[in-house]
Symmetry: C2
Subunit: 583 residues, 2 copies
């Protein structure tokens, strides 16, 4: 027997009990002959004590203990003289009567503490040691808890979790597929799913009515901080519903999560049209923890002979409330920020609303006090405010101002990670123009249904057709997205045509789905949440990497197990493949 209790369990109620504990040596310190050892497991930390009057063999063993040794101790629960109110076991300690070293440990390459001295790369290589640290483990405990709550909620709402296959079929649309050569079908490949989209729609055709799955998906894309080649989705679909039903059920799910996991209650989530999100925030995923909405100034500023404004398609700005005290240097920093190549603005124009009530802009040459009063009115400024203005082509300048708005949000401390601002963005366009291929692409995917009232525009103004599509955004991060699907074969064929598929191509790729639609497809729709992102938002993290037990680095490598790796020729031969690079 290794333990009677965990290291997080014993309190003053257990005084006098003889107990067995097992765990890792967090630290050991000698104070004038008395040794205090902190022993740690997943559940907590307990203080052990060995005195000068203990047996010599016990004292010798204690002397040998290094950090992260695995030990088993027998002892009696005593009240501590020097209590630690910060931990649940802080009122007691264990007077050790026997100690066994279950396993020794080399000195870890970094400190197993909440704040560690290990760099990213080292911690990735020794991920199993990094996972011993409380913050990392707590992220995964949070993840577990969230997954349990999601299942509990959806089960109660009659959703069935159905496992869809991992070895499926490659489709040239969308991101790159990971593929798997088939040994039994020479020259052919499976693909790993980018999402179970077609399978969940087939389940609706099958009458499953309400489906969900917490499921691994795969995209062979170039990686960034918040992207991993394998990631986890909460994938859901419902039949006989309308958009409103989907929003209600999954707003309910999100509220359930906030309540059970974070103890937070929410009013109805606000909803914003895609067009408004772009107009007022320059983004389809506005961070509405703070206001600072875009104000368009074309009507206010044009025609005063200032070419930068007069020639711009759009003049648009934000009121950075309370930032009028920004120094010249701070404003130069902002100018540098918007001029960075990844943002690409040509300059930044500003107006201060000084504490004394006066208005001062960087373009006073062109605009006098009276005219600036109009600016002030447009932005509804008060003394102490700073207005920041960008100009340019509409789509571009909105994106730029979105970046500046978020930067100002950060600088002004308006993006508190412990505050959560969920938002539905609705009425997405059905199609978006792709310059490269010179044709329209589906903004969500080819199965998204247009709004019935917009179907007539499909031929005349395809770019203006709105979709029954929606995203859930929290704190400026897209957490989930979905749509009502097309369930009519004819409309689906029309969509494929608009997306530039020939009938043959559509048949080859989605033939089985189109055929399924001929056997009685119900109206249906759904949503998919990025589970990694949802957990990372709940954990207050910027990257999804720390909510994944064994993540890959930016080259898609697992540096701990050193994967991917070469395989032997026999394996390749069996799979009917050769590699085109020298090993």
């Amino acid at each position: 027997m290794h333990r009677t209790h965990t290291c997080g369990e014993l309190t003053i109620k257990n005084l006098g009990e003889e107990v067995l504990l097992s765990g890792w040596v967090q630290k050991s310190r000698d104070l004038g002959g008395t040794t205090f050892i902190d022993v740690r497991d997943r559940y907590g930390l307990t203080q052990l004590v060995v005195n000068t009057d203990d047996e010599a063999t016990l004292r010798a063993k204690v002397k040998d203990l290094g950090r992260e040794f695995v030990i088993k101790v027998k002892g009696t629960v005593l009240e501590r003289s020097n209590k630690n109110p910060k931990i649940p076991t802080g009122e007691i300690e264990i007077k050790v009567s026997d100690l066994e070293i279950l396993n020794e440990a080399k000195l870890p390459p970094f400190m197993i503490e909440d704040e560690t001295d290990g760099g990213d790369e080292l911690r990735m290589k020794y991920r199993y040691l990094d996972l011993r640290r409380n913050p990392v483990r707590n992220n995964l405990i949070l993840r577990h808890k969230m997954a349990q709550e999601i299942r509990k909620y959806l089960d109660a709402q009659d959703f069935l979790e159905v496992e869809t296959p991992v070895l499926i079929k490659s489709t040239p649309e969308g991101a790159r597929d990971f593929v798997v050569p088939s040994r039994m079908n020479p020259g052919e490949f499976y693909a790993l799913p980018q999402s179970p989209q077609t399978f969940k729609q087939l389940l609706m055709v099958s009458g499953f009515d309400r489906y969900f799955q917490i499921v691994k998906c795969f995209r062979d894309e170039d990686l960034r901080a918040d992207r991993q080649p394998e990631f986890t989705q909460i994938d859901c679909e419902m039949a006989f519903i309308e958009q409103e039903d989907v929003l209600n059920i999954f707003e309910g799910l999100t509220r359930h999560m906030f309540k059970t996991v974070k103890g937070l209650e929410f009013e109805n989530f606000p909803r914003m049209q895609y067009a408004d999100a772009m107009k007022y925030y320059g983004s389809d995923k506005p961070d509405i923890r703070f206001e600072m909405k875009f104000v368009e100034l074309n009507n206010v500023v044009k025609g005063q002979g200032f070419g930068v404004f007069d020639n711009a398609e759009l003049v648009v700005g934000i009121n950075a409330t309370g930032a009028a005290s920004y120094t010249r240097k701070q404003i130069d920093e902002l100018t540098d920020f918007v001029k960075r190549p990844q943002i690409g603005a040509t300059g930044l124009i500003y107006m201060r609303h000084n504490e004394d009530g006066s208005l001062k802009s960087s373009v006073d040459k062109f605009y006098n006090e009276e005219q600036l009063q109009k600016w002030s009115a447009a932005f509804n400024t008060a003394p102490g405010d700073l207005v920041l203005i960008l100009t340019g082509a509409t789509d571009k300048v909105r994106k730029q101002l979105n970046e500046l708005r978020l930067e100002m949000g950060n600088r002004l401390g308006l993006r508190d990670k412990n505050q959560f601002a969920p938002l539905w963005v609705v009425d997405f366009p059905l199609l978006e123009w792709d310059e490269e291929s010179g044709r329209y692409h589906a903004m969500h995917h080819p199965f998204t249904s247009p709004k019935p009232e917009d179907i007539d525009l499909l031929d005349s103004k395809p770019g203006e057709v709105r979709a029954n599509a929606y995203d859930l955004v929290i704190n400026g991060t897209e957490i989930g997205g979905g749509s009502i699907r097309i369930h009519d074969k004819k409309l689906q064929s029309t969509m494929f045509k608009h997306l530039g598929f020939t009938e043959e191509e559509a048949q080859k790729q989605f033939g089985f789905l189109l055929e399924a639609f001929e056997y009685g497809a119900p109206p249906h729709g759904g949503i998919a949440f990025g589970f990694d992102r949802l957990v990372s938002i709940f954990a207050g993290l910027d990257s999804i990497r720390d909510v994944i037990a064994f993540p890959k680095n930016n080259s898609g490598r697992d540096v701990m197990i050193d994967s991917p790796s070469t395989i032997d020729d026999k394996q390749k031969k069996e799979l009917f493949i050769e590699t085109t690079v020298e090993q």
Copy 2:
């Protein structure tokens, strides 16, 4: 709005209510001008009625309805004159006031009924239609429920579900890996996990203490009825435990499942040593729904001049209670059965214990009544019993007699699918001799710990070393298996040596695990259940295929989506691979 109620919900309590229902037309029949339509969804079936006094437009629509059309109806709940007590909605019907055809349906290629006329292949191709059938859908509902209950139980026992990666590293040991070429790491491959074995052990090193996961695993093996290239495991691991703890926790899980899902209560599961399982059942997964234990006869039958017995390493038989009335033809069938190439016995010897008390054997030439009395005593026969005896080399004849025992179990109706007989098989050998490679293989896997008292035999008699390994067997099917792992680096190295790994090979394949063991590995062990098999046993099915939503056929193909398939040259080029067969 598509419905106010589901098709399984309305009862006599709803009389007079105006309701909306949506679903599929199960059937429609006209009885003297009155049309009765059964509308179906996942939740049930409701009868609709349209009379001759209804509007002509409604009657016309009803006339057009075909099987599997998707409809929405408005109507009033009425009491039925002709009640159907077999279904929950059987006391009511809906007097239709309005009907909308949401989608038409072609005539399905087979009947959507509990008993269908569709062959296997057709049903696989139109799996989405097969999934509409109650028995198939019910299997998946059972699967969902079981997964929920597993998670509930393990969560309550402090297990954390941790997702381990799907893109991992290929290891030449074990079954064949599916591999995934890496675009970012030219010439290198990921492998899909055959199990998360090493990751779960790393999680124990990380102090996760109790881990589980319901997880997809992959084996590129030749397929049989109960094998699929992708399958689902309930994968579990615990630290600071001994074998007894693992057995208790997972016996608890299994009882929880039986209780919550099947309403069945169980006493403690019996336990059987591997050696006894082989001796008395000729199998490491005995079906103990029925007795019919092996009786070894060497001491009883040898030395009477009957060469078949005298020259055999083992003479062993079973008592097929109550089968003495078997005709000559039936016994010939059994002889043919054991002589089939896949079983390979040379013949079958029998003895009848006739109803009149006389004994009659097929070798009466060599054995007289007095000697047969000894047989009878050995088998404890009674009038009406039939003893069946096989001879040969010990291992071989045991396997053959196992097949015969199961066959007799079937013939005598002793293998009721609604009866469940769980059993722990324990004390497996650590190693098994592999003729082909001329060396020992790990019977479970290389991380399985030998029994401490047997470690000394590792050098002298490796074949006799027992492992801390165990299997859970239900009704003769292995449902799960596991072991206590080695947590000591030195012992692990010794094991690798015995398994014929050079130090370099061990390092290359498992270096990260060996290294992890140097940083404080706790004692740990675990188990993995085959989830598909567990569900199929609970569902009373022989094959796992019917508890998988979208299974593959025996060539590893998904005939519904026609996968695997060829991929284009651009894709291959990006992945640095070529195929070695003409497309």
